[in-house]
């Protein structure tokens, strides 16, 4: 009896400790983004919104933020469309070497982003394509396509096949089946793939760093801010990014998972 009580208390202490460890850095980050002083370290001198003001007044940061959103949404759209079509083709038709094709499509998932970035950098140099946000976008499609394909392919079950067949028997053309029957049925997983891709692209550093030149994305801009050492303004940017990402997570939770839960 005593031992079970002890193990119960120990469990809660352990849980609290690890959650404390998990939350410590983000708590410090957000707290000292309000620091009234030049250093984001203790002691806490009092709250000010000055650093947030500086963040929103910083045109480089704001354009980096815009670039990040553009690249994230654009590359995720492309990755989702390509991934959906490939999943549709491989799940609904019998193709030669389909195992090999599936393997090829998910292969980039097992390779470090650094290596994908270096490979693309060598190739762009070799062909003579100059670096821009477009090259970053290409890289981000490449890392998100395997993910989109895998998520959507996994959710294509046989019961949907029958509904598609019924639509075809009723005279629907193939593109109608795809856009008006299959895509709506698979919407939860398509949306999940899309939002996951957006967050991955939004947060990605090494590809964006190596494949961009003048216009950069937000993580790259934050990286260059780090050279100035500890600075409450960096805390403020980080907190803003955190809020945006949590908002995305909430959207994902509300739209996608609620819908799947209902079914």
């Amino acid at each position: 009896m005593i031992s079970s009580r002890f193990s119960k208390i120990a469990s809660w202490v352990y849980l609290a400790t690890l959650y404390g460890f998990i939350f410590l850095p983000v708590a410090v980050l957000v707290l000292f983004s309000f620091q009234d002083g030049r250093l984001p370290v203790p002691p806490f001198n009092g709250a000010t919104l000055k650093w947030y003001g500086e963040v929103f007044a910083d045109s480089r940061l704001m354009s980096a933020l815009g670039n990040s959103l553009m690249v994230a949404i654009g590359s995720s759209l492309v990755a989702c469309v390509l991934g959906f079509c490939a999943a549709y083709g491989l799940a609904r038709y019998v193709l030669p070497a389909s195992r090999l094709q599936r393997g090829l499509l998910v292969a980039p998932m097992t390779v470090s982003y650094l290596i994908i970035a270096l490979g693309l950098l060598s190739t762009f140099n070799w062909v003579g394509i100059s670096l821009s946000l477009w090259t970053v976008g290409i890289g981000h499609v490449m890392i998100n396509l395997p993910l989109c394909f895998a998520i959507i392919y996994a959710s294509m079950g046989d019961h949907q096949k029958n509904i598609e067949r019924a639509a075809r028997d009723l005279g629907a053309a193939e593109w109608q089946v795809m856009t008006q029957v299959s895509a709506p049925m698979l919407m939860p997983s398509i949306l999940a793939a899309f939002f996951l891709s957006v967050t991955f692209s939004w947060d990605e550093f090494i590809i964006a760093f190596l494949l961009s030149r003048f216009d950069v994305t937000l993580p790259v801009e934050i990286w260059s801010m780090l050279r100035s050492g500890l600075n409450p303004k960096t805390n403020a940017v980080g907190s803003v990014v955190f809020l945006v990402s949590v908002a995305l997570l909430l959207i994902l939770e509300l739209i996608v998972f609620r819908r799947t839960a209902k079914k």
Binding site: Y14, L15, L29, G89, L95, I115, S122, D203
Partner: protein, 287 residues
């Protein structure tokens, strides 16, 4: 005959669906990899890359201590991180699956993921705030009088390991939790009915059944950890370089593209070996 033409038309349509994604993967993954492999066989002459098709770069890698050391530093960090993360995450996943009331479990998992929705560059920076000479930990310890001088926590391997463990504890908790809740409760009840005590049930039933989840999580940890540049660069500093830092150094200061390509191929080979070992093991478990 009609059947055959129908089939070829169907087939052509199917290829139409799959081809764009395949072409994209070939153009931006397969070809870049071949180009990089070719460049790893080249040499650098001044600022030019001269195709030489020899293994000089690979030989140099094994001869130059500072290059080889990068690989060992990376492997040591990765193994340390993987082991610490599994040891910390397993009890956490178990507590969430067993002790936390069912309706709160989802919330508990979401809360565990939440802090990782900061930018990943920012995450390492946040740890710097905690570990810096005038950071939170040193400040607290000095304040309560536990230490007289601030500890050197930032720019050490410890800092890198802490930064990594922070992320991978969360990741492994998710994979292990998924395994724990999938396990039918009857297995444990059966073991208990047959006279096993709590520890025996865990050691002989629960742990073996969750081992695949641990292995998958550990493999993910290995891959992500060994290829990461940000965490060792921000938290570990330049005192000792992990392999990705060495690669970036070749690109930046030394502008030695062939050597960077060589190191990347070696990094990829290490990951592939880990993958083969992991896949073999999982296959053996299943049969």
């Amino acid at each position: 005959m009609a059947q055959a033409t129908l089939e070829t038309r169907e087939n052509r349509r199917a290829w139409g669906f799959v081809t764009p994604a395949l072409l994209w993967t070939i153009a931006f993954f397969v070809i870049p990899f071949i180009v990089m492999a070719a460049i790893s066989l080249a040499t650098r002459k001044g600022r030019e890359i001269v195709m030489a098709f020899n293994l000089d770069n690979y030989i140099t890698f094994f001869e130059k201590a500072h290059l080889l050391k990068g690989l060992f530093v990376s492997l040591e960090i990765t193994f340390t991180v993987t082991i610490i993360s599994v040891v910390l995450a397993y009890p956490l996943a178990w507590i969430i699956a067993e002790r936390v009331p069912q309706k709160w479990q989802r919330m508990a998992l979401i809360m565990a993921i939440l802090p990782f929705w900061t930018s990943y560059v920012v995450r390492s920076y946040s740890w710097l705030l905690v570990l810096a000479k005038n950071g939170v930990i040193n400040n607290t310890l000095l304040h309560i009088g536990l230490i007289a001088e601030p500890l050197e926590l930032a720019s050490t391997r410890t800092a890198t390991v802490i930064g990594f463990v922070h992320f991978f504890v969360m990741l492994l908790t998710l994979t292990i939790y998924a395994n724990l809740v999938q396990m039918p409760p009857n297995y444990r009840r059966a073991a208990a009915d047959l006279g096993a005590n709590g520890f025996q049930v865990f050691w002989h039933v629960v742990l073996p059944l969750t081992l695949p989840g641990i292995m998958v999580g550990a493999f993910l940890t290995f891959v992500l950890c060994i290829g990461d540049y940000i965490t060792p660069q921000i938290l570990g500093g330049n005192n000792e370089l992990a392999l990705p830092q060495v690669i970036m150094l070749q690109l930046g200061r030394r502008a030695d593209f062939p050597m960077a390509a060589t190191l990347s191929i070696i990094l990829m080979a290490v990951v592939t070996l880990a993958y083969i070992a992991c896949a073999r093991w999982l296959k053996m478990e299943r049969t």
